[in-house]
């Protein structure tokens, strides 16, 4: 084998086989460990209390945009056939691509506003950690690459479903097939690599608040009263005494 292609092989193997597995394992172990042992640190760390006006122009476009874009990626990954079927009609393909691109720009706009807001406000600098900056820059890079790909390498929603979804599934199925991804242009490769790096760093950042999105709020009753013991049983002499006090809430 030639030295160059050996190097390329090594490089592809590392970034598209080793890195994904490391990222997934760190993500799973990291978030579960963090949630179970240090849940105090689980917070969206909102800074709205210190600055609320500029936040509007950053937080809203960013969050709405990233939700849509993320769901788009997720759909193409989970339902590649359906995505391709949808895209078989050019109008629908273009509608999908345009929507994705607009929300991608919205993410970018939001992130840049948030970044400027963070570094230009003295109060906010106090509540900004190094990790916040790293995540912010990584996200900006990923989104710029993503928008570039959407413009320059059409039609992403189709080739994602056709080529990348099988690759991601091969990772899930523990038999990585990296031929397709190895042949991708470098911009796309970088986008993928950065995405895995974000996944890797996820448990060590404020991004964890995404995992505790309060969806259960929709179904719970408004009021919440907590008894430490079964109040109907507590005065009953037959209720056995328990040596372990209940953990409240």
């Amino acid at each position: 084998m030639e030295p160059v292609s050996a190097f390329v092989n090594l490089y592809n193997n590392f970034f598209f086989i080793a890195l994904p597995y490391i990222a997934v394992i760190v993500f799973l172990v990291g978030t579960i460990y963090r949630y179970r042992s240090t849940s105090f640190g689980f917070s969206s760390l909102s800074s709205q209390f210190l600055e609320g006006k500029k936040l509007f122009w950053g937080s809203i476009p960013f969050h709405i945009g990233i939700l849509v874009v993320f769901l788009g990626h997720l759909t193409a990954f989970l339902l590649p056939k359906e995505t391709l079927l949808w895209n078989s009609e050019p109008i629908r393909l273009i509608a999908l691509e345009v929507t994705g691109f607009i929300f991608g720009l919205s993410v970018l706009f939001g992130l840049v506003s948030l970044f400027i807001r963070r570094i230009s406000n003295a109060r906010l600098r106090v509540v900004t950690s190094k990790m916040d900056i790293i995540v912010e820059l990584l996200l900006i890079a990923v989104v710029i690459l993503g928008c570039w790909i959407a413009l320059g390498y059409r039609w992403g929603s189709s080739w994602f479903a056709a080529d990348l979804s099988p690759y991601l599934w091969s990772i899930v199925k523990l038999s990585p097939q990296i031929d397709a991804v190895s042949a991708m242009p470098v911009v796309i490769k970088l986008h993928i690599i950065l995405a895995f790096i974000i996944m890797l760093l996820f448990p060590f950042t404020r991004l964890v608040h995404f995992l505790v999105a309060p969806l259960h709020y929709i179904v719970r009753p408004y009021q919440k009263v907590v008894w430490n013991w079964d109040r109907k049983a507590i005065r009953d002499p037959n209720t056995p005494w328990s040596p372990t006090p209940p953990k409240n809430n």
Binding site: S37, T38, S39, F40, G41, F42, S43, S44, L45, S46, S47, Q48, F49, L50, E51, G52, L55, F56, S59, I60, F62, H63, I64, A122, R123, R125, V126, V127, S129, M131, F204, T205, R206, V208, H209, V212, P214, H216, Y217, I218, R220, Y222, Q223, K224, V225, V226, W227, N228, W229, D230, R231, K232, A233, I234, R235, W241, P245, N248, N249
Partner: protein
Amino acid sequence: MDVRSQVSMVFHLDKCIGCHTCSIACKNIWTDRKGAEYMWWNNVETKPGTGYPGKWENQDIYKGGWEKDGDSIALKGAGKKKGLLNIFHNPNMPMIDDYYEPFTYKYLDLIESPASDDQPTARPVSLITGKPIDIKMGPNWDDDLSGTPDYARNDPNLEGLTPAEQDAMFQLEKMAFFYLPRICNHCLNPACVAACPSGAIYKRGEDGVVLINQDVCRAWRMCVTACPYKKSYYNWNNGKSEKCILCYPRIEAGFAPACMHSCVGRIRYLGVILYDADQIESAASADESELVDKQLDMLLDPYDPEVIKAAKANGVSDSTINAAQGSPTYKFVKKWGLALPLHAEYRTLPMLFYVPPLLPVMASVTEVSKDQNDNLNPIAKQWTDSWLYDTSTEELWGTIDQARLPLKYMANMFGAGDESKIKGQLQKLMAVRIYRRWKTVGDISEEKVNEVLKDTNLTAELADEIYNLTSLAKFDDRFNVPPAHREQAIEMLEFAGDEKGSTGFGIKEKVQRGL
């Protein structure tokens, strides 16, 4: 009947001297930490005034509490729909500047600055950025009516008063004010609990204390919006909301909360009240005119055998039932009808009650005739000239209507806008005074006193009881809450000193800002 127990406080506003000792006691124990400097779980406001955070009572600005929504009620600025839609940016959230930017002074500069022709100064610096700031606001910025044109004049409770009435309140010679100490009301229909998307806030079944689980709070900040009293605060440093915990670690151990224990004026009373939780919904969604009455109807007679039976079936312990029977707050609120909830119109069913102040009503000085002056009991005759601190006018009830703080103003705070509530209550307070004056000074006829007592549905015994608990009560009379049962240990009994500077109890990890 779903009988539950609630630890409830009464504030006797006539006795508050506005010393802020309560606030300091609370701050020293709970909130002298980074991110919490600006929080005053207990604060004392001058009324009329805009309070802390500025104009907190104006729900058009802050969107706190519940509002009527057909037959039911809905949160005004939060809730499932509004809360989740606004989660990325909450338009109804108060900002740090609505409270104030916490500050300290560079005291060291006073000592360390080199000798010069000028006095050294200690500049104020922000406790957030550490940079010098101009102080624009503080937690009691409008204390004692300072800055009246900007603050007292903008008191939201002036709503419904004519401009003439308002002007009359602020004539220099006639100005009157009183103090309003505030902590979390540990409501029966808490808006903060309902607004929390994470479900981190809950009401303890055993004693009704409303707490935020710090491990579950995710900084969605909806409680800050929802609490109409602005008593849930966002810690800007560690990204968790915090609020008054009614010193539950102290209460569980049988001690009074710090604010109460340190109260110089001894204005606070703490006791257990039994209530019927089945009525919460209907009481909270009652018509505005019925809100106060319906809330008071929920509170149950702790001597009623039915109530005791139902309480026991519900797991309320004997010590709690005993305490409810000796509860000073029950007496003020139900037996004597002297204490009212603050801003019942927010519909959170607040369980802290206030005895509205009579003093500014009465504090007028009148000239008495020579005759009257000669007839005075020597004890009352402290004035060499013929000026008298007027409490014995012929028209006994007249003075209440001509109060220097208009009844409407008081009613906006304590009666959900209904003046008759305040009037009856102030008349009772007045009757007790007249009765005591008859006893100690003796310049009022017995006939008159009996008439007054009859008018206010009081008896001599009741008047004595009220007088005793108001003026002479010892600590144990004012504080009657049983310690928690160890076998039912509630949160955790730990030594408060060990936890000082941390976020609280039961958290074993280092309390620090998340990544």
